[in-house]
């Protein structure tokens, strides 16, 4: 690598909460170069490079460095670095094999009627008002309800779970350090909750996901006490926060593209493709993180061991160089696979469930809420890291 190349490379001030992953600055950087330098390391901006680096043998999942990047220690950082996502090799394989069956695609058919009933029940509660806060009234109770169903948790404490997940989600944004007291309080409460659940399941065994983990935990070499709690916390947090954000982002896209919403209402079979299209142009997980395990050269760039690479899922999948209409939101278009669920060994564990529950939600929402529009100011998380709306007042016409 020569100094001239370094000078030509764009720099992105990613740690600034005002930075937007969808800004003109990022698009210009993507036109100039396949990568940019950032506060954290390297941002990869184009489709082919993201696809290759997502599963590159010299890279590992890089999120374990996130607390360190933010100068953060504590309970969240301990959990984060020990849980499934940040493990590699044999430990990762053992935990992943254990968790897989609970998230099997075979479960979706059984869960579909539950997803529909939950969505309809939530819509019933606000439909007559002609307005709602789409996050508090729909995406939060919906995402939480799905996880309650999956883990066999009582739905009556959904608000508490949703709040804990939302506060913990702040850790995945660039304001991690500033939000740390809230995050630490949330993880403390979530671990207490997980301990209660485990105690209850030890007393009353079940054959669901938590019951299966409790069973495996009888052999501490198979699943230690700490791993058991870490896994339950991951399932609750991972399942709620991402889906809550992603359905909110879907509503934003459809409000901005009303003809697409009308089309979805007319053709409910498009809901599955709609989920993929939303995740292509507006993923909640705006970057997938990798770290170099050794120094290697890629596209003439020397990447030093320990370098963090953020693979920009949205920028890569909406690159006009990839296809001319890449920036257009069109639920009928044929698209290449997006990176909204990551990829490789750490591909999102819950993606079949997430795809299934978001499909049913969009289908029913499009049929029951006509002409959705913003009805007040939408409050957003920073437009980087894991993003989404905190509050989204909308108005609509009843179908």
């Amino acid at each position: 690598m020569t100094l001239t190349v370094v000078d030509d490379v764009p720099y992105l001030d990613v740690a600034n909460p005002k930075f937007s992953i969808r800004s003109q600055e990022v698009k210009d950087a993507r036109t100039r170069s396949w990568y940019a330098r950032t506060t954290y390391g390297i941002a990869v901006l184009r489709y082919d490079e993201v696809q290759k680096l997502l599963r590159h043998p010299k890279l590992r999942q890089g999120s374990y460095l996130w607390p360190q990047h933010n100068g953060v220690e504590g309970k969240f950082a301990r959990w984060w670095c020990d849980m499934l996502l940040c493990q590699e090799g044999d430990t990762h394989a053992r935990l992943r094999r254990m968790a897989n069956p609970a998230f099997s695609p075979k479960l979706i058919a059984d869960l579909q009627p539950k997803f529909q009933a939950l969505a309809n029940r939530l819509i019933d509660q606000f439909i007559d008002r002609g307005e709602c806060d789409f996050i508090a009234d729909f995406t939060e109770p919906y995402a939480t309800g799905v996880i309650c169903d999956l883990l066999g948790l009582p739905f009556d404490r959904w608000r508490e779970l949703a709040d804990m997940a939302a506060d913990m989600g702040l850790a995945l944004g660039v304001t991690f350090k500033q939000d740390l007291p809230k995050i630490e309080a949330a993880i403390e409460r979530l671990f207490q909750y997980a301990e209660e659940v485990v105690a209850e399941r030890r007393a009353n065994p079940t054959d669901d996901f938590v019951g299966m983990l409790v069973q495996a935990n009888r052999d501490k070499a198979q699943l230690s006490d700490q791993e058991l709690l870490d896994m339950i916390v991951l399932a609750i947090f991972g399942g709620i926060d991402t889906t809550r954000n992603q359905i909110g982002l879907a509503m934003e896209q459809f409000i901005l593209h009303p003809a697409q919403w009308a089309l979805l209402a007319e053709q409910p079979d498009l809901a599955k493709a709609a989920v993929e299209e939303v995740m292509r142009v507006r993923p909640t997980v705006t970057w997938v993180t990798r770290a170099a395990t050794e120094t290697f050269t890629f596209n003439d760039l020397e990447i030093a061991a320990g370098t963090t690479l953020h693979l920009y899922s949205q920028a890569a999948a909406t690159d006009p160089a990839l296809m001319p209409d890449a920036e257009v939101f069109d639920i009928t278009a044929e698209r290449k696979p997006h990176f909204g669920f990551g990829g490789g060994a750490h591909h999102c564990l819950g993606h079949f469930i997430a795809r299934g529950d978001m499909t049913e939600a969009l289908k029913l929402l499009a049929q029951r809420l006509k002409n959705p529009r913003f009805n007040g100011e939408v409050e957003w998380l920073p437009d980087s890291g894991n993003t989404g709306a905190i509050r989204m007042p909308i108005a609509f016409d009843r179908a």
């Binding site: 599963r55 990762h92 394989a93 992943r96 695609p105 060994a345 591909h347 993606h351």
Partner: protein, 62 residues
């Protein structure tokens, strides 16, 4: 039991390698390789691999 992987949809996540390491692996060139005819003793692992494949690219015959 015969195993087929539809390489037109496989995205090389390697979830099958995690689920059934005796059947699926990556070779030195980074390509996915697998045993096409496998003893029934490994059926549970192979089914877990087919299940876990994010792209649902693995087919099991008889």
């Amino acid at each position: 039991m015969k195993i087929n992987v539809d390489m037109s949809i496989c995205l090389m996540h390697g979830q099958c390698v995690i689920a059934a390491p005796q059947v699926f692996s990556f070779n030195d060139a980074g390509d996915l390789v697998w045993l096409t005819d496998v003893d029934d003793a490994l059926r549970a692992d192979v089914e877990a691999a087919a299940d876990a494949c994010p792209e649902q690219a693995i087919q099991i015959e008889a």
